[in-house]
Symmetry: C2
Subunit: 259 residues, 2 copies
DNA sequence: CGGAATTTTGAACGCCCTCAATCCACGTGG
DNA sequence: CCACGTGGATTGAGGGCGTTCAAAATTCCG
């Protein structure tokens, strides 16, 4: 039995502690939890920023995360051009990143980190938009650098996180160069399936949190092409799609299509 | 007056010091300079790994670079699957990176760093092939991490280098999504022009070190399309191409075409 | 329950790819 | 010095895949 892919327990039991920010923008500001979360008891500890720290030192990592924050569906964690001060570790929910020119550059789920592209310029190069109600841990970057100088395992893990983002994008570039729409859509579904499985969800049945337009933008094709490809896969008995709900009947078939 | 874009002086005056590696592979091994290069007197100091270090501490950075190495045209600095131990700072010449599936993922010139994608997995995810006779500084990664824990400016600069690579690829992905072949080729030429200008070369006239096939793979189009686009630009009086030699008559025109 | 947003499906078009022939630059050897 | 070979570049013709435009169906959400 797999757990349902929805807003995690952790965030919900803390909702009563939320304090609303007084200086709000014209845009409705998200609720902000001012209580420091506990990495040591976090369910995501194994796949998150602190994945490298052993039990002995995990206590010292609590300083890494200043607080956490709720982001409701459609709201932005950060926008293009915002000053960069923090990384964001996604605690629950899912998020897309979008460039200035409306190009979707990535989809993120629990345990993954947002904002790595902003380090070099000092401002975010893309906007991070919640695809469903989500919770993020706020990691002040200055603190991260300080701790990285003190804890070698954290430093090494952080370097791997950065490098991994480079790899992810390199793979995406290769995918978008010289492949058909069918291959891209198949690879997209396989990728989602893998990442959900690693988090304890079913790899064969899940809910797409993004629109066809988002998927198309991410894959470099039009939304109609995504829809048509889904339909073709369904006619071939490989998948079942009903709106955002999707079932993968033939994972191996999809994998062979993605090459 | 711009200097000619060719093998730099620095490497040539050191050629007499080259010692050939005794344990060579079946592949002819490149010459290896065993003498530690001097960052403090390097012409590339401003754009390279040690760009962040002030005069007071530059002496301590010499330990960062263990030695340098010649790589002749067509030779590999590293290959896919090779164990990752070092980063490579390109000292002179130019290099392309190629994935397993023959996809060209990047072109590099003097001062730029190769191998950042290998940190996360411990092996290189692409091959680095010299497009002309080139020289690279070898930077053992363990040393880099140690020095990053000791020198905050170096740590910050290194993080920016990693982040910058993320940005570069994100821009490339955006370029390859929803743009015409014409826009891609124009953007490619503008990018090359900018990077050459920053290095003191002419932004309006230079030599393409890579083939049309390389360019096409990098941009996600076929080599014939690259050739045709060059020809069209020439007919419109925007550029002049003769083989690998290229002149950009109308930089502003190209820039407006790339959007 | 109602209206907007999203998705699906159809038909025609166009950009880029494929296949193929020719041309050109360059290095090699006769 | 030129003939020759080879890899790269150019150009043409035709076809296919994804786009564009459009309309209908469905889903989602307040």
């Amino acid at each position: 039995m797999y757990q349902e892919a929805e807003l995690g327990e952790l965030t919900r039991q803390s909702v009563r502690h939320i304090t609303l920010d007084a200086q709000t923008n014209d845009v409705p500001e998200s609720a902000v939890g001012r209580f420091v979360p506990h990495c040591s008891s976090c369910q995501l500890r194994n796949c998150c920023v602190a994945a490298c720290i052993d039990d002995e030192h995990i206590g010292q990592m609590e300083h890494l995360v200043s607080h956490w924050r709720m982001v409701y569906r459609g709201e932005a964690i950060f926008r293009v051009g915002d000053g960069f001060h923090s990384l964001y570790a996604l605690r629950s929910g899912s998020v897309k990143t979008v460039t200035d020119e409306e190009h979707v550059s990535g989809f993120f789920m629990a345990g993954e980190t947002l904002g790595l592209g902003a380090i070099s310029t000092g401002e975010y190069d893309c906007a991070a938009i919640a695809l469903e109600d989500s919770a993020v841990c706020v990691i002040p970057f200055a603190t991260m650098e300080t701790l990285c100088r003190q804890f070698k395992p954290l430093q090494q893990h952080f370097h791997k996180m950065l490098s991994n983002e480079i790899l992810r994008e390199a793979r995406q570039m290769a995918l978008m160069s010289g492949t058909t729409a069918e291959q891209r859509v198949a690879a997209f579904l396989i990728d989602l399936s893998n990442r959900l499985q690693r988090r304890g969800y079913s790899p064969r049945e899940f809910t797409l949190r993004m629109t066809r337009d988002d998927i198309g933008s991410y894959l470099g094709v039009k939304l109609e092409t995504v829809s048509r490809t889904f339909s073709r896969f369904r006619q071939e008995g490989i998948i079942r799609v009903k709106g955002k709900h999707i079932e993968l009947f033939d994972l191996d078939g999809l994998k062979s299509l993605s090459n």
